[in-house]
Amino acid sequence: MIRESALVAERASHREIVLAGDYWIHVVRAGQTLRILDLEGNQAADTLFYSAADPAERYSAMDTIRHQGNLYLTAGTRLMSSEGREMLEITADTCGRHDTLGGACATESNTVRYALEKKCMHACRDSYLLALMKHPEFGMDKRDLTHNINFFMNVPVTEQGGLTFADGISASGKYVEMQARMDVIVLISNCPQLNNPCNAYNPTPIEVLIWD
């Protein structure tokens, strides 16, 4: 569902460009609004959320899907935790559909999906791991890398049970915005995947903005 935001970028309390292949880890407080902006179009922002008070409570794709009875994320979706609590609500979305089935790319899964020789190509899970190793204050490690959201990605499921990575439906300037219902650690890998036509083989920057 397309829903535009009334928030003005110039009034954001935090703005940051995240380059393709980089990670971003940041605490967003309850009541704050986070926007992820697709600057150049069809970029995948692989995103995880953890309760800042208890990181073992984290975003659960399964609980989110089940809670809304639908596979796709958009405005109105409540992002649920592994303990069945609302973590954030998507309050604006100019893209219309986001994926939470496809997970994050990894060097290992690239060997399966594309070729064994691709094992040293940069991947989201390497960015995630580096973020967690560089931020020991959060006390997290590989165990904490679970089933993420792929903002701006389009992964349709057919009635016959097929699943495809379709061409993106995002474009330059499209964004998704969510308001936190609890203090959350946000972990984003701005996806460096070079083997998937969904981003036209061209990973690009995103911008993250926070309003108080």
């Binding site: 990181p55 073992a56 409570e57 659960s60 794709a61 399964m62 609980d63 899907i65 089940r66 009875g69 639908n70 596979l71 796709y72 592994s82 303990e83 069945g84 559909r97 089935l101 496809g102 997970g103 994050a104 990894a106 060097t107 290992e108 899964s109 690239n110 060997t111 399966v112 999906r113 070729a115 064994l116 899970r125 590989k142 165990r143 904490d144 890398l145 679970t146 089933h147 993420n148 992964v155 349709p156 499921v157 057919t158 009635e159 016959q160 049970g161 097929g162 699943l163 495809t164 990575f165």
Partner: protein, 246 residues
């Protein structure tokens, strides 16, 4: 499959258990009554950080539905197990598991004090109990399989639990590495039955037949051939009929 049954047992309705199964063995699960749901998590038994990854499983085989021919992958690009037989036809991997609140809202609270071992258990607590036996916990709960439960999606992404498979349906999982299996027989979280719908499941362990020149899972797609090669590398190229090569 004519192989001798090495072990078999029944997991009663609404219960949980865990065990280790060896590389080259088959775990057959039988829904004897029809309408069972088996919530399942899988971990590489010798390296527990290497665990089932549903997103990788679905995307590398371009499938939402899991059935015969598909492999279940770890997050390290390895094949945990292969679905070599399936008479149910469609298994879910994205709906997660019921928790205490869901069970109480839908079917009421039934405590041990009231009902002794017919109490209402739930899948999440079952997973937590079994994981804790192996030094794992909340952080190790990932997307689980819901065997015997078919979940379909329409063009808009709305999901629904379909009619259960026939009584007597079975699924055979051939293990491609030594694996810790954690499972429960609590209801699927989309099950709206008015009566507590938990059903028992029979489980049997066989030795797998040697991998032949053509294999329903390894040769299902190029991705699975590469997954088997990753297993071969993981097992240090050891010559074993389940290593993956010809």
């Amino acid at each position: 499959m004519n192989s001798e049954v090495l072990y078999q047992d029944i997991l009663p309705a609404g219960c949980h258990w865990s065990f280790r199964i060896g590389r080259g063995q088959v775990l057959r699960l039988v829904d004897e009554q029809g309408g069972a749901n088996v919530g399942m998590l899988l971990y590489n038994a010798e390296q527990l950080l290497d665990r089932i990854n549903i997103p990788d499983t679905l995307k590398c085989q371009h499938t939402f539905r899991l059935t015969a021919g598909h492999c279940i992958y770890t997050d390290m690009g390895r094949v945990l197990c292969s679905i070599i037989e399936d008479t149910a036809g469609w298994h879910d991997g994205v709906c997660g598991t019921c928790d205490a609140d869901l069970v109480e809202q839908r079917w009421g609270r039934k405590t041990y004090q009231q009902a002794r071992n017919d109490m209402h258990r739930n899948g999440r607590d079952g997973f937590l109990i079994e994981l804790a036996k192996h030094g794992l916990g909340r952080r190790d709960i990932v997307a689980n399989l819901n065997l015997f439960s078919k979940v379909v999606a329409d063009a808009d992404g709305n999901i629904a639990l379909a009619q259960p498979a026939a009584a007597g349906s079975h699924i055979d999982l051939r293990f491609e590495m030594d694996t810790l299996v954690v499972l429960h027989t609590c209801p699927h979280p989309l099950d709206m039955s008015s009566e507590w719908p938990a059903r028992p499941v029979r489980y049997q362990v066989f030795e797998a037949a040697p991998l032949s020149d053509t294999d329903i899972c390894r040769d299902h797609c190029d991705e699975n051939r590469r997954g088997f090669l990753n297993n071969l590398h993981y097992h240090h190229g050891a010559c074993h009929h389940h290593g993956g090569g010809h």
